[in-house]
């Protein structure tokens, strides 16, 4: 394999990593900050992809981004209403909405399960036209994805330092304390999940426009992949401030893609992606726990031996 094709692979991994990192940033808000595992992520990602695709096919690629985010926000709202106002367990609320979204997503695609954006203007093709003739013209995909990621990271770092952001973080940390600070944790959960939903959908919308196709399975397993990326990121930059951890989330997503690309080159079949991400999530969550259990085990072994 020559150098240019290696660079090409790295480039693609970087672009896909950045696009998926928007979902990872959504989980950074909902999972890390709010301490809610939002299992509607898969459906919400697909919702963003198909809403964006349909809007782009109608000739509005930029509006598509906002339409997708709006749809994701509504999806997040439904999940949060189920868990904060109707007493549905938070995991279950996500699963229920995820199931419902399958039907809704197909309905949005008007009964089809695949939409092709081959002949459609996308935000990427718009960027390509805008950059034509400049030295950066070849990097239009990377720059589009990067612009989205930078905006989301900036938004999150500013937002999480506001009083609303503090309240959201406190809700994940100690809901009792939130209530006694005259803040309704149901409200903070709702705001957090709505924002996270809009990010997830944005990520889906970008991926659909990037690969010029949206299908009903585009988001399948996304929550595990994003969680794996988030945990990889937090092992690298876990102890920093809000900005550093957000950057870590993005880095985690890119690293995940790079590792995946390498694995593919080493003849790992593509369908193994989801198994690999599942194993990474299990390892990342269990290793810190197992570490704490290790001294106990060791002492027990010593006793048995002695």
């Amino acid at each position: 394999m020559d150098l240019s094709s290696v660079l090409g692979l790295i480039q693609t991994a970087l672009e896909l990593g950045l696009i998926c990192s928007v979902t990872v940033l959504a989980l950074y808000l909902s999972y890390t900050m709010l301490n809610v595992c939002d299992l509607s992520t898969d459906g919400c990602f697909t919702l963003g992809a198909v809403t964006g695709a349909v809007t782009a096919m109608a000739g509005h690629p930029v509006l598509a981004v906002f339409a997708a985010m709006g749809a994701g926000l509504v999806s997040g709202l439904v999940v949060s209403v189920l868990q904060t106002r109707m007493g549905v367990n938070s995991l279950l609320a996500g699963i229920i909405v995820n199931t419902a979204l399958y039907s809704i997503n197909i309905a949005i695609m008007d009964g089809a399960s695949l939409l092709s954006l081959n002949k459609t203007q996308t935000v990427f093709s718009l960027m390509k036209t805008a950059l034509a003739g400049t030295p950066l013209a070849g990097q239009y995909k990377l720059l589009t994805a990067l612009a989205a990621v930078v905006m989301i990271v900036l938004f999150l770092t500013l937002f999480l330092r506001t009083r609303m952001g503090l309240a959201i973080r406190a809700t994940g940390n100690n809901p009792d304390m939130v209530r006694s600070s005259s803040i309704n944790p149901a409200m903070t959960t709702t705001v957090g999940l709505c924002i996270a939903g809009s990010f997830t959908a944005l990520s889906g919308c970008l991926l659909a426009q990037y690969q010029k196709a949206a299908d009903i399975n585009i988001g399948q397993g996304m929550v595990t992949i994003a969680l794996a990326s988030l945990l990889i990121g937090s092992t690298i930059l876990g102890r920093g401030g809000i900005l550093l951890r957000a950057v870590g989330a993005v880095l985690g997503a890119v690293i995940f893609r790079l590792v995946y690309t390498v694995a593919l080159r080493l003849d790992m079949p593509a369908f193994m992606l989801k198994l690999v991400s599942a194993v990474i999530v299990v390892l990342a969550i269990s290793i810190p726990y197992l570490k704490t259990q290790l001294p106990v085990l060791r002492r027990r072994m010593q006793r048995k031996a002695g």
């Binding site: 330092r161 009083r163 609303m164 100690n174 009792d176 209530r179 006694s180 600070s181 005259s182 309704n184």
Partner: protein
């Protein structure tokens, strides 16, 4: 003036574990009073505080604070007018957030989109100094690093800072 009018609370009604914690209790507390409540285990002291602060809905009766009926007000709304310290020092503050972030949340001065300003920090530092625990130099440290006593002192400050 805090007034309780014939409030009752029975836990697990109709079961073998039925426990009548409060029975038509009436109490009025004038402004400026300092009150200590003493009772045996299970006498209903915590239940009384739970009823006043809104942790649960009482079975009957009314609770008035300065004439305002707060009986049906949810806990998070009541906490705007009632400061409260939990028995458990771990419950009153968020361990993963810094001292200044906890104080800012409790103070709530700048609206939902406000950031912590230099002025806020000065004010927090001045108030922490009065605790005389050296916390004024640790504004950016997570509360989880404090001892139980330090955390309870911080919670006391948070309850009164608003």
């Amino acid at each position: 003036m805090l007034e309780l009018k014939k409030i009752s609370k029975t836990f697990n009604p109709g079961t073998v574990n039925e426990k009548r914690a409060l029975h038509e209790l009436s109490l009025s507390v004038p402004d400026g009073d300092f009150i200590t409540i003493i009772g045996a285990n299970g006498a209903g002291k915590s239940t009384l505080f739970g009823a006043i602060s809104g942790s649960f809905l009482t079975d009957g009766g009314e609770i008035l604070l300065d004439g305002q009926d707060v009986t049906l007000l949810p806990e998070y709304r009541r906490s705007k007018i009632i400061g409260r310290l939990f028995q458990d020092p771990m419950r009153g503050s968020a361990p993963g957030m810094t001292i200044e972030e906890n104080l800012a949340l409790a103070a709530g001065r700048r609206g939902w989109l406000g950031h912590i300003s230099r002025q806020d920090r000065e004010c927090f530092r001045a108030q922490l100094r009065e605790l005389d625990m050296g916390l004024e130099d640790r504004l950016r440290q997570p509360v989880g690093l404090l001892s139980g006593g330090q955390r309870q002192a911080l919670t006391l400050l948070m309850a009164t800072i608003a």
